[in-house]
């Protein structure tokens, strides 16, 4: 068991190292000079003032040092927990900007992933048994899973927010409120959360429903199910065993889905101007903010690797064959 997890951890560390290096490289491939963009956008009257700003920011962000030195600085500061200063935020520490945005993104992603996974699998399993449900869930599922996140977000925003005024158009919480521990603020927060959540939930739900439905049907056709049926076991018992076996690819799929859903949440947050990480990434790209982009991508890398690691643990807990294999491996 320890060797299994040790090996896993080692793989993850290598992945992290490579991903972090690529993460550091990518913003630097963007054309243009971020300091020039920052200075030009401020429309300074006097050229001496502009020159001073250029010097100040170049020195502040360490962009005048050669690339290998910048790379080493990146790792040194990363190991100190310092993700650098944001150009877009005029020198605000990147970690502060990310921490302000993370709660919103997690509030969207975690419920959306877990609820859609649970609901999708339940519906899929049900659909595998009932023909009439199968005839409705399957086409709806296909349509939903093929829908681009952004398009669904726009449709929901137009219908439910603009036309029917059921939910707010944009933002994390109302512009007339400040964050306080009141019922009013909490309901407002939830109201702003519903539409972005739905945009993510619905698309993922479709995918899981179809996947589970196919897996259940496959399991119900397998040898052990037929054997159990021939022994006279009740349908519910067969279904229970089939469900457990069908879950395993779904758990793997969850791990794979995590990376995709982060991209989906990015566009959803942009449509709703929801102040999460996706919105911040968009702003960072527009403003050529190397450090903010690096920091957010690093955060996402760590998050996805961590979630994958958790799914690995869950897999071990759920599948007895893995445990037997591990014991066999260490014996």
């Amino acid at each position: 068991m320890r060797r299994y997890f040790g090996r896993k951890l080692f793989t993850y560390l290598i992945t992290f190292f490579v991903a972090a290096t690529i993460d550091w490289l990518i913003p630097r491939f963007m054309p243009g000079d971020p300091i020039a963009v920052l200075v030009t956008k401020t429309n300074i009257l006097s050229p001496t003032q502009a020159q001073r700003m250029v010097e100040y920011y170049t020195q502040l962000f360490g962009l005048d040092k050669p690339m290998p030195v910048q790379y080493l600085n990146f790792w040194t500061s990363l190991l100190h927990g310092n993700l650098g200063l944001s150009i877009y935020g005029n020198g605000t520490p990147v970690i502060d900007m990310i921490m302000a945005a993370v709660p919103y993104t997690l509030a969207l992603l975690v419920p959306a992933i877990l609820l859609s996974w649970w609901a999708g699998n339940s519906f899929g399993a049900l659909a595998a048994r009932r023909k009439w449900l199968d005839n409705t869930v399957l086409p709806v599922g296909y349509i939903l899973t093929a829908t681009p996140y952004m398009w669904l977000a726009l449709v929901l925003s137009f219908l439910l927010a603009f036309s029917f005024r059921m939910f707010p158009l944009s933002g994390g919480y109302g512009f007339n409120l400040e964050p306080t521990l009141t019922w009013l603020f909490f309901t407002d927060l939830v109201a702003h959360w519903v539409l972005p959540f739905l945009s993510l939930f619905l698309v993922m739900f479709g995918g899981w429903a179809i996947g589970m439905r196919n897996m259940i049907i496959y399991e119900l056709e397998s040898d052990y199910s037929r054997y159990l049926a021939s022994l006279g076991a009740p349908q519910s018992l067969i279904r229970k065993y089939a469900f457990r076996n069908a879950m395993l690819p779904q758990i793997t799929g969850l791990a794979l889905q995590l990376g995709v859903i982060v991209a989906g949440s990015l566009v959803t947050e942009i449509v709703f101007a929801y102040p999460g990480l996706g919105h911040l990434v968009f702003a960072a790209i527009q403003n050529q903010d190397y450090f903010l982009l690096q920091g957010i991508f690093l955060f996402i890398i760590i998050g996805v690797l961590l979630a994958n690691f958790i799914v690995d643990i869950v897999y071990v807990l759920v599948d007895p064959r893995v445990r037997v294999a591990m014991r066999g491996g260490t014996a």
Binding site: M30, P31, G32, D33, A36, T40, T42, N43, I44, L45, S46, P47, T48, Q49, A50, Q51, R52, V54, Y56, S86, G89, N90, G91, T92, P93, D96, M97, A100, P103, L106, A107, V110, L114, F162, R165, S170, G172, F175, N176, L177, E178, P179, T180, L181, T182, W183, L184, F186, L189, I270, A273, P275, A283, N287, G303, A307, I310, I313, L317, V318
Partner: protein
């Protein structure tokens, strides 16, 4: 089954641990403003504010509970803030909306429509008879928001702060000494005063409390974020988040007693720009009162019965805030030939852009490029005789006369026979300019000039236009509108003719076309040293500058880019308009001190019948 249950419990435990480790509480996120804590620590259950509207209007009572802003007392704006508010330092041009104007104020206001200066924190100012010393009379009875008095020492300090090299100001290349004396501040100059530049400082430089800023006046002055600072203006800092900036009324504002002025909204909430369609949606549904974004199709909306109005009720709907110029790189052939540039100016019809692209919400620029507020400095007779007007046939004739032969593909070639293909660059995403450049290219093609419209990323355009530390500017043509309206056309002539050329790189922000004309620059410096009251001399110098500009065409004026401003009249009314309330309707930097502050004092809440 025992084992199954254990497994499920373990599963749940893992999920719970993961959730708590990753995200922590998601119920009430602490929205920390970048860089510092907001101080909005969760309070016990707060009751919604019921500040009487009357008290808000008179400004006598400070708001009591303040975490919910009543709609009738709140002004929602958008359009200035292109990113999260990250600094409230009035010397940092990236400062949040309203830092200078709502929180900090200037010595004078300048009204470009009336061309008049209003004493503000100064009660007056005068030159001595030799016009070499300027005395500022500091207004008495003004208090900072922390209760201390604003004195001449504060004013002197606020001007002397520009000696700090970190601010990169050139004020002390023209100013010698700033000394407080009694209730006055005396400014002496180096040599003949540069009256134009100094007059710009009088209405642009913020006055800050010396008690707080003396300690910050070192090389790190721009690192001081000044969140929640102390100012003299009508609003103080309330809160800020990634998507908003909130100001709350300062009940002890000096102008209420001294000038009988009160700002009507108790709260001003500026919303960070996300996208134009989000802004439009909010404006139409009443979530925004004032929007200073460019919204395409606003002409139809104004006439569509949505309660949305603009400064002018009909075309051009918007005031002109700056001129959009076509900037050629005069160091590259054939753009180094004035005859070619002239032909180019004659080939382009800005009316095409005005009508087809903007739907008449902008106006075609005068051939001198000077904004309408400076029309008195335009030598109209000279413009009629020398100015380039749209005439494709004449453009073709001028090209031929200058030696550019028409090739078989319908485009003219260089004098040595090589093909001419000029890249016109605008930033990607600036949809109105992207459309404009295709129209310009079409016009030019009709006259035989091959222009290729491109739209690279903003950063690339800036790089090509400015050059870098190692490479000269590589652009052919760009459209640019950097310099805004001001109190004197000197700002435009400085922009066009500045010498010496600023080194290529990020700090380059004048004379993008790299035009070298020593005589023109001498005239610009002469203009700078002309008193702002001496309009006669200014007119003469401007006329000479216009002659150079109209014959050489170093840059070509296209249209007056609008001071985009559309308002929703459902909650607040009596907005600026050309008929009643003629003040600047923009929340952009630099506009509050050009009279936009009156926009807030003139507002009237809509009373629900």
């Amino acid at each position: 089954m025992q084992l199954g249950k254990t497994r499920v419990v373990a599963l749940l435990a893992v999920v719970a641990i993961a959730a708590s480790a990753c995200g922590g509480s998601t119920a009430t996120p602490t929205v920390a403003a970048p860089g510092a804590t907001t101080g909005a620590t969760p309070a016990p259950v707060a009751t919604p504010a019921t500040t009487p509207a009357a008290a808000a209007v008179n400004g006598t009572l400070p708001p009591t509970d303040t975490t919910v802003y009543p709609r009738a007392e709140t002004l929602y704006t958008s359009g200035k803030q292109w990113g999260a508010p990250s600094t409230w330092n009035p010397f940092d041009s990236n400062m949040a909306m309203g830092v200078v104007g709502l929180q900090y104020e200037t010595l004078f206001l300048y009204d470009p429509i009336k061309d008049a200066y209003t004493p503000w924190l100064a009660s007056g100012g005068s030159w001595d008879s030799a016009k070499t010393t300027y005395t500022i009379n500091v207004r008495q009875g003004v208090k900072w928001s922390d209760g201390t008095a604003l004195t001449a020492a504060d004013v002197a300090f606020s001007l002397n702060i520009y000696q700090n090299a970190a601010l990169g100001s050139n004020l002390f290349t023209i100013v010698d000494k700033v000394v407080a004396s009694g209730n006055n501040v005396v400014v002496t100059f180096k040599g003949t005063p540069a009256y134009q530049e100094f007059s710009s400082a009088l209405y642009n430089d913020p006055i800050v409390p010396a008690a707080i800023w003396t300690a910050k006046n070192d090389a790190n002055i721009l690192k001081f974020l000044n969140q929640g600072g102390v100012g003299s203006g009508p609003y103080t800092y309330k809160t800020a988040a990634q998507d908003r900036m909130v100001w709350v009324k300062n009940p002890t504002w000096w102008a209420t007693a001294a000038l009988s002025l009160t700002v009507k909204p108790t709260y001003v909430v500026d919303i960070v720009n996300s996208s134009n369609n989000a802004a439009l949606g909010e404006l139409l549904s009443g979530g925004l009162d004032l929007d200073n974004n460019y919204l395409p199709g606003i002409a139809q909306i104004v006439n569509g019965g949505y309660g949305v109005t603009t400064y002018f009720a009909a075309a051009p709907y918007m005031l002109g805030g700056n001129t959009a110029w076509l900037v050629p790189n005069t160091k590259k052939a054939p753009l180094n030939d004035p005859a070619f540039r002239r032909a180019l100016a004659e080939a382009i019809d800005p009316n095409n852009v005005v009508v087809k692209d903007y739907g008449n919400i902008v106006a075609k620029a005068d051939p001198t490029g000077l904004l309408p507020v400076w029309s008195k400095y335009i030598d109209t007779a000279q413009v009629t005789s020398l100015g380039a007007t749209f005439d494709a046939t004449k453009a073709k004739a001028d090209l031929a006369a200058a030696g550019y032969k028409l090739g078989s593909d319908g485009f003219v070639t260089n004098k040595d026979g090589t093909a001419i293909k000029l890249n016109l660059e605008v930033p990607d995403g600036w949809s109105d300019w992207m459309e404009a450049e295709t129209l310009i290219a079409k016009d030019a093609a009709a006259a035989g000039i091959n222009i290729n419209p491109t739209h690279p990323a903003y950063a690339t355009v800036v790089n090509d236009r400015n050059g870098t530390a190692t490479a000269a500017p590589t652009f052919d043509l760009v459209i640019n509108n950097d310099v805004q309206i001001g109190n004197t056309p000197w700002v435009y002539y400085d922009y066009i003719f500045r010498q010496p050329q600023i080194a290529a790189g990020a700090a380059r922000n004048r004379n993008y076309e790299q035009y070298d004309n020593a005589a023109a620059w001498a005239l610009v410096q002469q203009l700078d040293k002309t008193p702002v009251e001496d309009t006669a001399t200014m007119k003469t110098i401007c006329s000479q500058l216009q002659k150079i500009q109209l014959t050489d065409e170093p840059i070509i004026p296209l249209w007056y880019n609008g001071e985009w401003s559309q308002v929703n009249n459902s909650v607040w009314t009596n907005w600026p308009s050309s008929t009643t309330n003629q003040v600047q309707p923009a929340t952009w930097n630099g506009y509050w001190q050009m009279g936009a502050i009156y926009m807030l004092t003139n507002l009237k809440p809509v009373t629900k019948s």
